[in-house]
């Protein structure tokens, strides 16, 4: 793939995708919840922009709609909800420092390379651009999952989950020019409901074990009966 041959908008898309990837690294590292939420909002915004660009340089007009949808959901609504939740849960000062940040980043980098290697097989000349974008978005997804693995804080896990969604969305938009509209709506609806439920659960967890540290939730296990 020769960068020169790509139209400007595609180059822009690549740049933005790269930034999205970078942002998810930041998200991974970000210790303060509130800041992390802001970062996540930025990621959403970027995704929306990518969508808009793709919509602009293809003739898929319904992408503009989904771009708007993404912007509202990922960049505004969900971050705002999280924000409120965090403040109502008095978590705004909360900061969670990873035990081995360096290792976490290393692993994340490894994931990036892996995801590139994983999508390598689908090589066809005219697909190269798409493939790399898919690689990037896969990396974002995996990093989101990785974040959920290493972060013990419920809200942080939700952020990881949501950034996975972002990665998915990125892939959907860039690789396939967006899903059919009905699916888009369905997905958006599901994500919204999920977010609401998350909110509900924060409070339920909070009132049951008065913390949001998921590591405290280990009652349900088979290990106990080894005694």
């Amino acid at each position: 793939m020769i960068l020169e041959q790509l139209p400007l908008l595609q180059q822009l898309t690549l740049v933005l995708a790269a930034i999205v990837l970078f942002v998810s690294f930041v998200l991974l590292e970000q210790a303060r919840l509130v800041a992390a939420i802001h970062v996540f909002a930025w990621q959403g915004a970027l995704t929306a922009t990518v969508t808009a660009i793709v919509a602009a340089n293809s003739d898929l007009k319904h992408l503009f709609f989904s771009a708007a949808l993404t912007l509202i959901m990922k960049a505004l609504l969900i971050p705002w909800m999280l924000h409120r939740l965090v403040y109502r849960l008095e978590l705004d000062r909360h900061r969670e420092s990873l035990r081995h940040p360096a290792l976490a980043v290393m692993a994340a980098l490894a994931l990036v390379i892996f995801s590139y290697w994983a999508v390598a097989p689908l090589v066809k000349q005219e697909l190269l651009f798409t493939r790399n974008i898919v690689a990037v978005s896969l990396a974002v997804v995996l990093i989101g999952l990785w974040m959920m693995v290493i972060r013990a804080q419920a809200v942080a896990q939700v952020l990881g989950f949501m950034s996975m969604e972002n990665g998915l969305f990125l892939a959907a938009v860039t690789a396939t020019g967006g899903m059919p509209l009905v699916v888009e709506l369905g997905v958006a609806f599901d994500v919204l409901v999920a977010m609401i439920l998350f909110g509900v659960f924060f409070f339920q967890i909070r009132e049951s074990i008065d913390t949001l540290d998921v590591d405290r939730m280990n009652r349900l296990t088979e290990k106990a009966d080894e005694s």
Binding site: M148, F161, M164, L168, T176, P180, V200, M217, E222
Partner: protein, 486 residues
């Protein structure tokens, strides 16, 4: 399309019913309507091969799952009426809880039926995700720390899984766009199935990995199964019944549909059976591991949820094995397993009410206290353990003989697994049903009708497979494998 949407209406209307006593009946009514509609649909299918309208496509494979789902829905709602009232009276949940329960029950049914009947993989995804959302609140219905923990794990794990599945779907769509002109049809399963050979194999295999991990989480394949015992054990029992009896089936059904696509596209490559082998691997692993899990159980519902994992593993293995005999057996097993397992969960619900606990060590002398429940549990477990003349034996017999033909050495593993699982179940069962009942253990108002209806059906299937069923299964088999059994 009444089949699909009557539950939706139910979901919307039921919470509005002022008197809870009625809500239970209404719940039954709605479910019955659904079942009726499903049966009508089935009779339509009987003559014409496939019905499709817009997003929906009913063929011989999903119609029988539709009917099964509707049926289990009815019987479960019948059981859940007295059960939930008992729960409500015992003060574990309030009015809101009851409303929520009924609404979510129907919502869940809606998502299940939608997932089964739709032709669009995207909608399918939405429905399965919706099922998670609908049930997650039911899991945490009791608001105990355990319940909330279980719900959270269920939510997160399945959410992640389903997200991965979406990624797979995206890749699928991506591959489809190169084979299908009309982007609107890009996620239509039937359309994809027709052009499967043209789908780019590398993308398909990549997509299948994501879809398998994603939906496999829902199926409860080891090692993505951890949410399953938690969710089953903490939620209200009717929900456990439908989870084990329906949700897992639907997830597996999805996997099978996708496998059909992937097989189609990989048929020309050098690894034509990639999907099959993956399924076999996961199936066998889940089967054995779950069997071993049964041995160290303290919670009765956890135990049976592991048994569900075990059977799901068996079916997955069989579908992976492919071939008409194995597929026929797997479909049959799906049928008998949902019936038996939901029956067992119903019984378990009563049993835990009798003993006032779910801990195996404290459930004693059921036969003495309430013979119906005790014998129901005993027979149900005997059935699920694969004892003839119950139908589970028939399907396992088919699966084993199919394995014997295709992969003789796997048969030994399967048999060992069966023996282990069997021992794991019965070593606990004995202490619960037999022996002296503890002081002051009282019978509870129980509606064992669903249990004996289910077991009766399973028994019937075990003695002789009715033509109607066998023809459905046969047509489904033909659809999946292209081969006949009859």
């Amino acid at each position: 399309m009444l089949t699909v949407f009557s539950p939706l209406l139910g979901a919307l209307l039921l919470p509005l019913i002022p008197r809870l006593r009625w809500a239970g009946w209404a719940n039954i009514a709605v479910s019955s309507v659904t079942l009726g509609a499903a049966l009508v649909l089935a009779s339509d299918i009987a003559d014409q091969d496939v019905i499709r309208t817009g997003l929906f496509r009913i063929d011989s494979l999903n119609i029988y799952l539709l009917v099964l789902t509707a049926f289990v829905g009815v019987t479960t709602s019948i059981f859940s009426r007295p059960y939930m009232i008992h729960v409500c009276d015992s003060g574990r949940i309030g009015q809101q809880g009851m409303r929520l329960y009924h609404a979510m029950f129907q919502a869940f049914m809606f998502t299940m039926l939608l997932a089964l009947s739709t032709d669009n993989l995207g909608v399918l995804w939405v429905a399965v995700e919706g099922a998670t959302l609908a049930t997650v609140l039911l899991v945490s219905l009791y608001r105990t720390p355990e319940a909330i923990e279980a719900a959270w794990k269920y939510f997160i794990l399945c959410g992640v899984g389903i997200a991965l599945a979406l990624f797979g779907t995206v890749l699928l769509y991506f591959a489809a766009q190169r084979a299908i002109a009309d982007p609107a049809m890009g996620l239509s399963w039937s359309a994809l199935y027709h052009v499967a050979p043209q789908l780019q194999s590398s993308i398909m295999s990549l997509a299948f990995v994501f879809l398998l991990v994603g939906y496999g989480t829902k199926v409860g394949l080891v090692p993505m199964h951890q949410w399953l015992p938690d969710a089953h054990s903490e939620g209200p029992t009717p929900m456990s019944a439908v989870l084990s009896g329906l949700l897992l089936n639907v997830a597996l059904y999805t996997v099978v549909r996708l496998k059909m696509l992937v097989d189609g596209s990989l048929s020309t490559t050098d690894t034509p059976h990639l999907a099959g082998h993956l399924l076999m691997g996961f199936g066998l692993l889940s089967f054995l591991v779950a069997g071993l899990f049964l041995h160290h159980q303290r919670d009765i519902k956890r135990m049976f949820s592991y048994s569900s994992i075990e059977h799901m593993g068996l079916m997955t293995f069989a579908f992976g094995l492919g071939g008409p005999l194995a597929t026929f057996g797997a479909l049959l097993h799906m049928f008998v397993h949902s019936l038996t397992k939901s029956a067992i969960f119903v019984t378990v619900g009563h049993a835990s009410h009798i003993a006032g606990t779910q801990s195996i060590d404290n459930i004693r002398g059921l036969i003495r206290t309430q013979p119906a429940v005790g014998w129901g549990l005993l027979l149900g477990v005997a059935a699920i353990a694969g004892f003839p003349p119950f139908g589970v034996f028939t399907s396992e017999f088919l699966l084993l003989s199919a394995t014997m033909e295709a992969q003789p050495w796997f048969t030994v593993i399967l048999l060992i697994g069966l023996a282990i699982a069997f021992a794991g179940l019965f070593r606990h069962l004995h202490r619960m049903v037999y022996g002296q009942a503890p002081e002051g253990q009282q019978p509870v108002p129980a509606n064992m009708l669903p249990v004996f209806v289910h077991l009766g059906l399973v028994l019937w299937v075990g003695l002789t497979i009715p033509d109607l069923l066998s023809h459905w299964l046969d047509r489904a088999t033909e659809l999946i494998t292209g081969g006949h059994m009859l």
